[in-house]
């Protein structure tokens, strides 16, 4: 049985409190609290001691996807001090200017593979360049990004083969031609099933599809089916 949950950003954009409220009744075991825009970071960090996430067995944080060189070390410091040490922090590699700001995170930092708009982090070899600079970092594998880069799923296979030991979390959604996260289509489901067996059941799956409250359960079923296989890992 997959451990599934949603990104707060997919449910309520930057309003993580609203997302938590919406998701409460669904009783998913996982959640990712998202601060994709820099203005969302401080409110989220400040609220962490106050919000109740005790019903989740897995919580991660998504760091801002874009910031300036001047803001970088402050963001890293804020995350390092404000996020519980056992919560992975997902980051887009193209956002990083100074890798030394992030090296002390070790395995807590999860590098996400990128969509094809981005100049780095899309392929296994581009990810390797990042891991050379952050040798202890883990991997948040975005299966929708990987499919957008290579619909044959060969690149997904290569990434999962090469970085199996680093895998800490999955992002799943349909990634459209504008790189937006849509509900998982039938075509995406077929593609994701090709490599599903390479993703161990214990790895948390975070749904990034932008859905309204009435579609949450249906999308969770979609995600479960998309990652269904005879996984024996």
């Amino acid at each position: 049985m997959r451990k599934i949950g949603f990104s707060s950003g997919a449910i309520a954009y930057g309003d993580f409190m609203s997302a938590l409220d919406t998701l409460r009744s669904s009783q998913f075991p996982c959640i990712e609290l998202s601060a994709l825009r820099i203005s969302e970071l401080q409110p989220l960090i400040s609220a962490l001691p106050l919000i109740d996430v005790s019903n989740y067995s897995y919580v991660s944080i998504h760091a801002p996807s874009s910031f300036s060189r001047e803001e970088e070390c402050w963001i890293a410091e804020t995350l390092y001090l404000g996020v519980p040490a056992n919560w992975p922090i997902v980051i887009h590699p193209d956002a990083i200017f100074d890798f030394s700001c992030w090296s002390r995170f070790g395995r807590r930092l999860a590098i996400e593979n990128m969509d094809r708009r981005k100049p780095v982090g899309r392929t296994a070899s581009e990810l390797q360049d990042i891991f050379n600079l952050l040798p202890e970092a883990s991997l948040c594998f975005d299966v929708g990004h990987a499919r957008q880069c290579d619909a044959s799923m060969t690149e997904a296979f290569v990434i999962l083969s090469r970085f199996a030991e680093r895998l800490v979390q999955i992002h799943i959604s349909e990634v459209n031609s504008a790189s937006q996260h849509d509900p998982i289509s039938h075509g995406a489901k077929l593609a994701f099933q090709q490599i599903a067996a390479m993703i161990p059941n214990r790895i948390p799956v975070i749904i990034e599809s932008r859905v309204n409250a009435s579609s949450i359960i249906a999308e969770a079923i979609n995600a479960t089916e998309a990652l269904s296989s005879q996984s024996t890992i």
């Binding site: 708009r117 290579d150 044959s152 060969t154 090709q194 067996a197």
Partner: protein, 359 residues
Amino acid sequence: MTTALETIEKRTNSSWENLRTARRVSAEQRREVTTALEGYATADASIVVVGSMAREEFTVGSDIDWTLLLDGMSRPQDEQLARDIRRRLDELKKKQPGPEGVFGTFVSSHDLIHRIGGESDTNANTTRRILLLLESVAIGRGDALERVMRNILYRYLEEDRGLWFGSSQSKVPRFLFNDVARYWRTMAVDFAYKQRTRPAGGFLLRNTKLRMSRKLLFLAGMLTCFDCHTRFADGSERRSFYKGKPVEAVIERIGEILSKPPLEIVASALVEYDFMDLSIKKLFTAYDDFVGMFADENLSEKGKTKRKHLDDLPVEEIEGDLIAGEAREISHRFRDAISELFLTSQTELGKLTIEYGIF
């Protein structure tokens, strides 16, 4: 890094200077074109070159067979983009294919991926697809090319039931191999067709290319397919690898092989066969002579290069013509070396050639 071809060259005490020069010229030409077309390729559109530049055999007189490969949204500007590429190459005075031909225009990935076999797989579509697989390089960004190649390979491999579930111990992707073989035979048939429809000239140039570079292409395609079987230490390792239908793993491996030019693919397959060095040397020396012949810029008494001479020579004047004789002799050495290396039951490659190459 030393290539397999360089390893064999050294081991056999050979000097394939013409191949080295052609590699250097190909790289220079490619750099020039890449600079000129900077900004034309995108994540969804690759400028793909096939032919001698992709094979790293570019010589004087070679043309640039390019295609604008589209793998994304169709846009009204696509045709203009293709025209602009043509104009830019014209400015550089590069020889190009005609605008109505198989190359020199834009092509969507859709037909290449979905139309394999059947009525809708036209001669042009097959040509583009197979050349994309066997001899192509991207000018600038290659995202679309790499994606399309993998998707085409996915079709050939995922649908090959025999590869995954067949009772044979051999693991050669027949669907892919048969299309490569079909294309080789199609080229041979089209050669005869052109002899009828283009009686004015070009017979001997086409004939020499068919016997040499086209045959090399088939050989490289065949050996790429055979690698799916031969790369394993033993049957147990092979069975273990193919368990669970690892389509993507095979695509990755084949893609890695096809990223090399055809000569290097052949050299990589033969590098372990040092006990056949005489024949191996014969094969590559013949090819070196062929490339040297096409690169020779010296003019004859009639003011023609050897390549131009072959292109212009009427069929009825072939007999007794010295340059035609030279071309024929080179192609015979190439043919004989291939026969010695592959039509034998003494080696794994030979057994596979006999098993798959004929019936």
